[in-house]
């Protein structure tokens, strides 16, 4: 236990800023999860592994001498087609089945990806160095890497683009219609199969962007996928489906929580505290709803 946080206000400022910038990234991943959950009623356990895969794409560009920031454009393109491929191979067989089946099937995909990445890229913790330097704030007491600012800016940019796309484009309208009522959309001539594939692809592309940004700002490792899945799941159940400001807010809140848990409990309990927080949130909501004799749906 370390209560330095409360004695030195600058550490608090540092943790809050780090947490918010990290949380924006979480919110981007969570938005993808909310999208596929809302549209096709699937909980994708492999979400985090898609993120890590996107990170490795950026890392590979870095290894071959291309600036990793270009990964932000390359990764989503590759991940989109990968997402559509996964949809065609596996997901379209579990879409209209029990949710537990989809959880198990994506768990299988997650294990598969984790291991393939382990073979392809090795089990080392890696990061793609962007050489963006750092910004010092408050009399050099708070260190802010520019790469984190860059990643937050790009995430917000992608989120805004996506929201506009969902509102204005034809496909976006079809996706929203399918989310509201798949059967009615089908009757009115929407090719739901295509919409599902596109949704899964868009989700994978978002994961690719987030992964590329994570490989620039933080570190990636083949086995680090599951915590990202749990984080995005947590953000979605706190914010609710289709509540974008809520997703952004709870993402940032989670980021700040994690930074403080890191300072107070120690780094070895960081992931553990995320998982415990998930359990606590679910239990809290269960008790809140049970007063009205309802349950989480």
């Amino acid at each position: 236990m370390d209560f330095m946080v409360f004695q030195y206000p600058m550490i608090t400022v540092q943790a809050c800023l780090d947490g918010i910038l990290l949380g924006i990234l979480f919110a981007l991943i969570a938005y993808g999860m909310a999208l596929q959950w809302g549209v096709m009623n699937i909980i994708n356990i492999a979400q985090g592994d898609l993120v890590i895969l996107g990170g490795y794409i950026a890392y590979f560009m870095y290894l071959y001498g291309i600036h990793p920031a270009w990964g932000v454009i390359v990764a989503p393109v590759i991940m989109y087609f990968l997402g559509v491929l996964i949809y065609k191979l596996v997901i379209n067989k579990v879409v209209d089945r029990d949710l537990f089946i989809s959880i198990l099937a994506t768990f299988g995909i997650s294990i598969l990806f984790m291991q393939l990445m382990n073979f392809a890229f090795g089990a080392d913790v890696v990061l793609a160095n962007s050489d963006y330097g750092t910004t010092m704030l408050f009399n050099n007491n708070v260190v802010l890497p520019n790469s984190k600012l860059f990643s937050a800016f790009i995430s917000i940019l992608f989120a805004i683009c996506l929201v506009i796309y969902m509102k204005k484009s034809k496909l976006g309208r079809a996706i929203r219609a399918t989310a509201q009522n798949a059967r009615a959309a089908k009757i009115l001539g929407v090719d739901t199969e295509k919409v599902y594939a596109a949704t899964f692809g868009i989700n994978a592309a978002l994961c690719g962007v987030a992964g590329a940004l994570i490989s620039i700002t933080f570190t990636i490792h083949p086995y680090m996928g599951l915590p990202y899945t749990i984080r995005s799941f947590m953000i979605v159940i706190v914010a609710g489906l289709g509540n974008l400001p809520g997703v952004a807010m709870s993402g940032m809140g989670l980021g700040v929580f994690e930074e403080f848990a890191d300072y107070i409990l120690g780094t070895e309990f960081r992931i553990g505290s995320v998982f415990l927080l998930l359990v606590l949130i679910l239990v809290y909501r269960r008790f809140k709803l049970s007063r009205k004799r309802e349950y989480l749906k």
Partner: protein, 349 residues
């Protein structure tokens, strides 16, 4: 129990008792198989019969593993020193101490997870469907991460369980653990079989089929859900304690709270055999274990890739499992009355 069943059970019993002498090279594999069957069968109590698909039974398994080993060491030697310095080199259990410690350890390993399941049951089992699944997944992983940070049970570097004492015979260790796990298996089977012949099983099935209606019929569903989970936890803890001694080394995320392996295995075995049947998990675990050992030997290094593909294939193409498939094919054997006209009509359609 009719005559056929009697012959079947005594055949299995005799085979089980003779197996370590017939196949002395496979003793460890057979013990692991017994543990796997116990895990799959008890997962089936709340996963298959009650409809609460849990990824978190690994929590009780890992707890049992740590508790059994800690009690076995802590009864005779200081636990902190043991884990800090690789104590098995400085402290040696005499045979009497080892077996005494193991007995007490297994009792603790079974009781404590049961109590914990009872305590957290009220909060966790109020969640339904996929929320329950994800919440228990979180519980299992959180337990692994947290136990990996606790110094007294070895933290990240792991915990060596007491080595088997020298009792004169080299075969003794394998035989001891085989019979221990085999008797646990028999105990589990008898317990589960007697549970499945009572009203309790019908209540569990009612909860699975429609919980709201079951509640409306006047069943206190929460009480039965907690009891069902506690029964699972009891046997999971016991299995974990045995497995800890068998493996000889406990690591927080790779052996004890191994949600990625054992936690998914138990779900998979039950689904492969057929959820919600007595024999399904047993058949599923046996086939899965043979399959897995084949993979682990021939595709060394690629085993997890194979496992991932296996999960996807089983879940997509075999969601009803082997028993479900048999039931569809030979409904008469399962006591279902089939109308010949009905069947013909279906074929014509």
């Amino acid at each position: 129990m009719n005559k056929n069943n009697l012959i079947l059970y005594s055949g299995i019993l005799i085979f089980g008792l003779a197996a370590p002498f017939l196949f002395p090279a496979f003793k460890v594999q057979l013990s692991i198989l017994c543990v796997l069957i116990v895990l799959a069968t008890t997962w089936n109590i709340q996963g298959g019969e009650m409809g609460y698909n849990s990824f978190g039974n690994i929590l009780f398994y890992g707890l049992g593993m740590y508790l059994c080993a800690s009690v076995q060491v802590g009864m005779f030697f200081p636990l902190a020193e043991w884990t800090e310095s690789g104590g098995e080199k400085t402290f040696v259990h005499t045979p009497a101490q080892f077996f005494q410690g193991m007995a007490v350890g297994l009792v603790v390993a079974a009781i404590v997870p049961t109590i914990i399941a009872g305590l957290i049951g009220y909060s966790i089992l109020g969640l339904r469907g996929h929320y329950f699944a994800i919440c228990t997944l979180g519980l299992g992983v959180a337990a692994g991460e947290i136990s990996g940070g606790i110094e007294i049970i070895g933290a990240g570097q792991g915990f060596t369980t007491p080595p088997f004492p020298d009792v004169g015979s080299l075969e003794a260790r394998g035989e001891f653990f085989y019979f221990l796990s085999f008797f646990t298996l028999i105990l589990t089977f008898i317990a589960v079989r007697s549970i499945y012949s009572t009203r309790f099983k019908l209540i569990l099935n009612a909860i699975r089929d429609n919980e709201d209606k079951a509640e409306a019929m006047g069943i206190e569903t929460m009480k039965y859900k907690i009891i069902g989970w506690m029964i699972s936890a009891f046997f999971c803890g016991l299995a974990g304690g045995i497995m800890g001694g068998l493996v000889g080394y406990i690591d927080s995320t790779d052996v004890a709270f191994d949600g990625r392996e054992m936690g998914v295995f138990m779900v998979l075995m039950a689904i492969l055999g057929g959820k919600g049947t007595l024999w399904g998990p047993i058949i599923g675990a046996t086939i899965f274990h043979i399959f897995k050992e084949g993979f682990w030997t021939f595709f060394l290094g690629w085993q997890y890739v194979a496992l991932g593909v296996l999960i996807v294939v089983i879940v997509i193409y075999f969601p009803e499992g082997i028993m479900g498939w048999l039931r569809e094919k030979y409904p008469e054997r399962f006591g279902e009355v089939v109308d010949e006209k009905d069947r013909k009509a279906q074929v014509e359609l």
